[in-house]
């Protein structure tokens, strides 16, 4: 019998797509070792000085920490709000549903500058000083449409009787949600967390208007781009960020595998 060797085209495509996704970000590490301040070929020579300088770049590091905080809190808040709203939209027919759905999508269409400046006016008028808190409030606003649309498709076709079963077994509404609903829509939640974190991590306009003395990373980099000489520091930081994300991922995967093996 002749065995036909099947080429897993989809896997090949997936790898190619990963190359497409990673190609630009992998150039960042390359140039973070380049002994020059202009990010262009040809390369000038190898150096570690940009990394060495990182230690002194308090503001840059602080900006990154700020961004991580803002991104995480935003992701959690937007996903929670989106989760509840999407649940309502998919499950219940109620007066004002369409209105509410439309409203929640609005942040996508209003120009950032308008949102940003009017929020600043609003926050200042209620005595809320520009700070990371206001940035988070703004980011939740722009991230919400993303989480709602993702969570809505996650809740589509959700089997109602599972919740009823939990409720029937004496769980409270909250307990049912935590022990049944959440784990089942987990893929949607993960997707939403990832997306909203990414939205926040890269957002500039709102962060610029709403941040006080603690800038987020994009704000810092945007304002610094007028000083290209500092760019390599940022590249070094970006590379470290990338490296640590990948490391975290690998560690998590390693432990996951170990736990699976030991449970067998």
């Amino acid at each position: 019998m002749t065995k036909v060797i099947r080429i897993p085209w989809l896997a090949v495509y997936a790898i190619a797509y990963l190359v497409f996704l990673y190609l630009p970000v992998l150039l960042l590490p390359l140039f973070s070792f380049n002994d020059g301040t202009i990010v262009a070929f040809p390369l000038k020579g190898f150096t570690l000085k940009w990394y060495a300088q990182l230690g002194q770049q308090d503001t840059l590091l602080q900006a990154m920490v700020n961004s991580l905080i803002v991104g995480s809190v935003t992701a959690l808040m937007a996903t929670s709000l989106g989760l509840f709203a999407a649940r309502a939209y998919v499950r219940y027919r109620f007066a004002g549903r369409e209105l509410s759905e439309g409203l929640v999508m609005l942040p996508l269409v209003i120009p950032g500058i308008i949102v940003a400046s009017s929020m600043l006016v609003l926050f200042i008028s209620i005595g809320l000083k520009p700070s990371l808190t206001t940035v988070i409030l703004g980011h939740v606003f722009v991230a919400l449409p993303f989480s709602v649309s993702i969570m809505k498709s996650a809740f589509d076709d959700f089997d109602q009787s599972l919740e009823e079963a939990a409720f029937d077994l004496g769980e409270s509404v909250v307990g049912t949600f935590r022990r049944v609903t959440l784990p089942i829509v987990a893929p949607g939640i993960i997707a939403s967390l990832l997306v909203t974190f990414t939205v926040s991590f890269d957002e500039f306009v709102l962060a610029f208007f709403l941040s006080g003395n603690s800038p987020t990373l994009p704000v810092y980099i945007w304002s610094q781009i007028r000083f290209p000489a500092k760019l390599p520091n940022t590249l070094a930081l970006g590379s470290l960020l990338l490296l640590s994300s990948v490391l975290l991922l690998l560690i998590a995967e390693y432990f996951r595998r170990r736990s699976i093996q030991s449970s067998d």
Binding site: P8, L122, S149
Partner: protein, 287 residues
């Protein structure tokens, strides 16, 4: 009260209230400001609060506005199409061909946890004059002179954005693929469908909600993007958002900026509605 909360309407309103109120409160102010400004005028730093149609008149008569509006929608459409088409197979791969779903989801989002500006810089390195691509082609002897049509045009804008929006397209499509009951696919195969037909007649229609979500998430903000076109679009890449941006910034003409924004929002809204209706209808026509 308890009774109200137990009805469908009550539960629905209660669950959606936090999000609705949050957005509602924060959106009301900007929207009102936008509408108000669009009927005012500004000279230098003085706002004239007399109501007038002048801004709308200007926006409607200026061929530049129309030109940029159409180009923006066209570019955003191309970006959306490219992104979703490129992303679908990956979402499919993650949903059906791998066990390590979370790992893959993280793999496709990690690249985006670095600064957007830096990634755009990188694209210029790849597509640019002495860039990765040109160097590779030259060293392979395929070309003598660096190609210049790779960067600073619509192509570069579409490519860069198709990259930037990748996870935003992959994730919603993945979520809707993930939910498909495997026995439906088997049923289609059983009824004689090849893999391709099965995809077109069952998988694709069932993922229409995910596709729509992805398209809206990408299309709407892209129409309003002014950074990417400015960075990689070259002299050809200007979009309506650049014009709006100038009004709010250098030109300091908020009334005109507000008017243009409202018009852009309206156009985007119309295009989006037409799109959703068309795709839904198309999904239904696949039998």
């Amino acid at each position: 009260m308890a009774g109200v909360l137990r009805s469908e309407t009550g539960k629905g309103l209660a669950l959606s209230a936090p999000a609705t109120l949050y957005v509602g409160l924060l959106v009301a102010v900007p929207l009102c400001i936008l509408v108000a400004y669009s009927f005012w005028t500004q000279t230098y730093v003085e706002i004239d609060r007399k109501l007038t149609w002048a801004n709308y008149q200007e926006a409607f008569t200026d061929p530049l506005v129309r030109h940029l509006m159409i180009r923006s929608v066209a570019i955003a459409g191309a970006v959306t199409l490219a992104t979703v088409c490129l992303a679908y197979p990956i979402a499919y791969f993650i949903a059906f061909r791998t066990q390590k779903k979370t790992l893959w989801l993280l793999l496709i989002t990690i690249p985006f946890w670095s600064s957007y500006l830096l990634r755009v810089f990188s694209w210029k390195l790849i597509l640019g004059f002495n860039g990765v691509l040109n160097s590779a082609l030259i060293s392979l002897g395929l070309i003598q002179e660096p190609l210049t049509f790779l960067l600073y045009n619509e192509f570069a804008v579409v490519l860069t954005l198709a990259h930037a929006w990748a996870p935003f397209a992959i994730l919603p499509i993945y979520v809707s693929l993930q939910k498909i009951d495997r026995s439906l696919l088997e049923a289609a195969t059983d009824l004689g469908c090849s893999k391709l037909e099965r995809f077109v007649r069952v998988t694709l229609p069932l993922t229409v909600p995910g596709i729509i979500a992805a398209c809206l998430i990408i299309f709407i903000p892209t129409v309003g993007d002014y950074v990417t076109p400015a960075l990689v679009g070259g002299s050809q890449g200007k979009m309506v958002a650049n014009l709006i941006q100038v009004q709010f910034g250098a030109a300091n003409n908020w009334p005109l900026g507000a008017t243009l924004s409202l018009l852009a929002m309206l156009s985007v809204g119309c295009v989006a509605i037409v799109f959703v209706v068309a795709v839904t209808a198309l999904g239904r026509r696949i039998r």
